[in-house]
């Protein structure tokens, strides 16, 4: 779990051990900012037309939106280990994973806006994001990511390239039977698979204590002889170290790993979530651990970046996000006849 700041992950040698240096951290900072600004911009547009009366069917973005504000460190630290040929299978909460995996934020935004320039020409939506060239996809079905990522890992092993597959999931998903089934098969076949559990303490409105027999899931991995890490998901250095080991192990043929990262979502489960199941104090406590400002403070303490550098990184990230949203907003909607095509290849 996390420790009060300054923590040992502030120490340069610990950062080096985690495979990071100043440049890598600045890069991670910018990417986390990009995700954050992107999410905030999506949130803004989502609420356009919905403020008087909340109605999922109106406004420029319809349906459900699951933001990952607060969970950026996990996505960025894990995806920093990956190449374009590695596969990532994500969940309903996928924007941060997509951006971290290198999916074009403009085409991502366009998909969320239902535009024909979107990743899926507007047919998918945020729970069904597919990017073939980045080997990225997700699903709105909880627990579905595990076997699918294992399938990609199987394919990599079979084809004898050194790619790795990552399944992201929430802690709620890990109560689903597919988690255990996948652990077993992944261990049995020694698949190059990394399962990342983003434990944000809640599944919808349901707190962990009402859904899990134990506080954490990593023991389940260990019971299948799969190595597992429990890390501070609000600290990019901590996640990075575990993720690097996990991905290297998979790439080098040593089989699967589970990385369980404790983190927090700052927004509701979906936008419009009436809340009420978390206290204001709890949310504020976690906000103090914001992985982005925490990294900023660390960079400053280490004198690896001054205010100006950080501001510039934030500005450039914001510009990219704004441009992505602009692209999305200005793109055309698909032609209705497209609805009827593409069921079969």
């Amino acid at each position: 779990m996390w420790r009060p700041e300054p923590s040992d992950t502030d120490l340069p040698f610990r950062i080096a051990e985690a495979g990071l240096d100043r440049d890598a951290l600045l890069d991670a900072y910018r990417r986390m900012c990009l995700i954050r600004v992107f999410e905030e911009a999506i949130r803004d547009r989502y609420w356009t037309g919905k403020t008087d009366e909340f109605n999922m069917a109106v406004g420029p973005i319809r349906g459900e939106i699951h933001l990952a504000v607060g969970q950026e460190a996990v996505a960025v630290a894990v995806c920093a280990q990956l190449t374009d040929d590695d596969a990532v299978v994500s969940t309903h909460r996928a924007h941060h994973h997509a951006i971290a995996k290198g999916v074009d934020p403009a085409r991502l935004a366009a998909e969320i806006f239902g535009k024909v320039t979107g990743l899926c020409r507007g047919k998918g939506g945020e729970m069904h994001l597919f990017s073939r060239n980045k080997r990225f996809f997700n699903s709105g079905i909880v627990g579905a990511s595990y076997p699918q990522a294992a399938g990609a890992a199987f394919s990599f092993l079979y084809q004898e390239d050194r790619n790795v597959a990552v399944a992201f999931s929430g802690e709620g998903a890990a109560n689903h039977g597919t988690f255990a089934e996948t652990l077993n098969i992944a261990a049995l076949w020694q698949l190059p698979l990394v399962i990342v559990i983003e434990d944000n303490l809640y599944a919808d409105s349901t707190p962990k204590w009402a859904a899990q027999a134990t506080n954490h899931h990593y023991q389940r991995a260990q019971s299948h002889n799969i190595p597992a890490y429990l890390v501070d998901g609000m600290d990019i250095v901590d996640v990075h170290e575990a993720a690097r080991d996990a991905v290297n192990r998979a790439r080098d043929g040593y089989g699967p790993t589970v990385v369980e990262a404790v983190c927090y979502r700052f927004r509701g489960h979906f936008e419009g979530d009436p809340g009420g199941y978390r206290t204001r104090e709890e949310v504020e406590l976690w906000e103090r651990l914001d992985p982005i400002s925490r990294l900023a403070r660390r960079l400053q303490r280490l004198e690896w970046a001054d205010d100006e550098t950080l501001t510039e990184l934030r500005r450039s990230a914001a510009a990219e996000a704004v441009e992505a949203i602009r692209f999305a907003e200005q793109s055309p909607l698909p032609n209705p006849v497209e609805a009827l095509t593409g069921v079969f290849a």
């Binding site: 069917a57 998903a173 039977g177 859904a211 209705p336």
Partner: protein, 339 residues
């Protein structure tokens, strides 16, 4: 009596009234406490009956459906929330191989008094895995009763009947009729008795009488068909609108009688067109009204594509009032108007 907005409070009231009477009735499912099963079908129950009887489960559909099988076999009457019908693939085994079959396979020893409540329907941008109807799949496998209310009055009364039934019943609550915040609402405020009452299964309702064409629909499509009927009336076409209410048991007699009267039938369905509900209704109707049909039975349904996300695409595949009007016109020989 008082006005109710939507089927969600009607369903939760029926469950409430059953729980007050039947101590062995419990509610199981994801987010059935704080969120009232997301769309409000179980809203308010936890506050009243506590977490001992209204129980949030882990995300493990096959297992909580299986819990219901075992609990029903030992004296309980579980109400289970399947949050979205689109998730049926994660628990269908316990539903159709066990809940549905155990009474028959046990030679009548084990009743399975389990009511499943699930949210269905699209039209608000929830895309391919959260917008389906799929009641045809449940109706196809023997042993499950299938309830598809279109009004709050029916929703309460049919749910009461479901809860009293010694068999598994699935209540399909259309999201656009729930009246729940966040959802567009295509229902209307209704007078619904506060006292318990029940609406029998297997009895279709003629929502509007007519003589030129019979329109058969369920849930949201009943509302749209009624609206279409009003427009058709402006053109001098008299449409009879039938609300099926329960697919299993199915009131073929009412459908056949209407078809014999009008000679023309339009089936309106928000489920996928092929191998589902419309085919079955067509079979039953032609079997009973063959000699009186003056035109082939037609249908408007989702044209065998997954639900697309983007609004113009989604709008193109979910049957609209305009589409119903056009099909009914075509069926009655009155040329369709543009749009």
């Amino acid at each position: 009596m008082r006005m109710l907005r939507g089927i969600a409070p009607a369903i939760s009231e029926a469950i409430d009234q059953e729980m007050a009477e039947s101590p062995n009735t419990v509610v199981l499912g994801e987010d059935v406490t704080y969120w009232g099963a997301v769309f409000g079908f179980t809203a308010g129950l936890q506050e009243k009956y506590g977490r001992d009887r209204v129980i949030d489960t882990p995300i493990a559909e096959q297992t909580f459906m299986g819990l219901a099988v075992g609990a029903a076999a030992t004296g309980m009457r579980p109400v289970v929330s399947l949050m979205f019908v689109d998730f049926l693939g994660t628990c269908f085994d316990q539903i159709y191989n066990h809940l549905a079959k155990n009474h028959y396979m046990s030679g009548g020893q084990y009743r399975m008094p389990v009511t499943v409540v699930t949210a269905v329907g699209g039209g608000y941008g929830d895309a391919g895995q959260h917008s389906e109807l799929l009641y045809g799949l449940f109706a196809h496998v023997p042993g499950i009763k299938v309830v598809v209310p279109s009004t709050a009055y029916d929703a309460k009364g049919l749910t009461a009947t479901a809860l009293a039934d010694p068999n598994p019943v699935v209540v399909f609550g259309h999201k656009l009729l729930t009246g729940h915040p966040g959802m567009p609402f295509e229902g209307e405020e209704e007078d619904v008795p506060t006292d318990p009452y029940s609406v029998p299964f297997g009895l279709a309702a003629i929502r509007r009488a007519g003589i030129d064409v019979t329109i058969v629909a369920t849930a949201l499509m009943v509302r749209r068909s009624l609206e279409a009927a009003a427009r058709l009336a402006d053109d001098g076409i008299s449409a009879e609108v039938i609300d099926v209410r329960t697919l299993v048991p199915l009131d073929s007699a009412t459908l056949v009688a209407s078809a014999r009267k009008t000679g023309r039938v339009l089936l309106v369905d928000e489920d996928y067109a092929s191998f589902g509900t419309t085919g079955e209704l067509a079979f039953r109707i032609q079997a009973g009204a063959f000699d009186r049909l003056t035109a082939p039975i037609r249908r408007v349904a989702v044209p065998d594509v997954p639900m697309p996300y983007s609004e113009p695409l989604e709008r193109a595949v979910i049957p609209s009032v305009a589409q119903i009007v056009d099909e009914a016109r075509a069926l009655t020989g009155v040329p369709a108007t543009a749009g």
